[in-house]
């Protein structure tokens, strides 16, 4: 997604919001399964992938390919960034082989919620600036 009106920042923020909602789902599942024997706590990892995609965004336009089989360098745009979901390796295993750390999950939940709202606030600021320009400087 790139248009003159909505720049890279907005699309990165949009992706970040999507990933945070996925993290919210996974963390909720971890909390719901905090006492399920054998359940493995899952983590969502997207920050690095998103940062890399944000760096590469826009490159695709600048590289030329001479053969349709060539890979386009920098095809990893923000919209194509993928989140990794895997079993958290950094855990203490309890008697029932459950690896959910309730304190950690609650902290993740709150942190995720705050950063989600922060991203929303930034989008709102962007939209506010656009509105300011669209209304001719508030006149």
């Amino acid at each position: 997604m790139s248009s003159p009106l909505f720049d890279k920042t907005t699309s990165v923020l949009g992706s970040s919001i999507n990933f945070r909602s996925l993290r919210q789902n996974i963390t909720s599942a971890n909390i719901a399964n905090a006492e399920t024997p054998g359940y493995k706590a899952k983590v969502v990892d997207f920050e690095d992938a998103l940062a890399r995609a944000a760096d590469l965004e826009g490159w695709a336009k600048e590289t030329n390919t001479t053969d349709p089989d060539h890979y386009v360098i920098g095809s990893g745009s923000v919209a194509n960034a993928r989140a990794d979901i895997y079993d958290n390796p950094d855990v203490n295993v309890t008697n029932d082989m459950n690896t959910v750390d309730m304190e950690k999950e609650m902290a993740t939940l709150q942190e995720n919620s705050i950063l989600y709202k922060a991203a929303l606030n930034l989008i709102n600021k962007k939209l506010g600036a656009l509105r300011y320009a669209a209304t001719d400087g508030g006149r």
Binding site: I17, N18, R20, S21, Q24, N25, I26, T27, S28, A29, I31, A32, N33, A34, E35, T36, P37, G38, Y39, K42, I85, M102, E105, M106, L109, Q110, N112, S113, Y116, K117, L120, I123, N124, L127
Partner: protein
Amino acid sequence: MDFSTALRVSASGLAAQRMRMNTISSNIANINTTRTPEGGPYRRKDVVFEAMPDERNFGEMVTVKPDEQIQRVQVTDILSDRKAPLLKYEPDNPEANEEGYVAYPNINLMEEMSNMIQATRSYEANVSAIQASKDMAMSALEIGR
């Protein structure tokens, strides 16, 4: 962007903990019960939690690959404790056997109480998760306002 998944998964946690609370209540209520329909004294019950892939509606199941990583919790079974009943020597009790022993349920009140606190805390954790998801969804509705 679906908050219904987070809400559904947390709700499954609430339901599971409530079911656990029900069995604990049953255990405490029947701490002195000597007769049951199956015969013999009451046996303490325990819930079995199982993680299951989050179930979507049929349309989504056909079109979208179900996300195996997001798992809800479900009470799949309620098991009876295998501990032998407590035999107390009460020859005057009409429930006593030939040797004068009455079989009582082998329920430890302290154990039930600590399980109850654990269930309450887990329930609260799920409520917090629902609250956080709700706050996020509400602030998402205010984009551009």
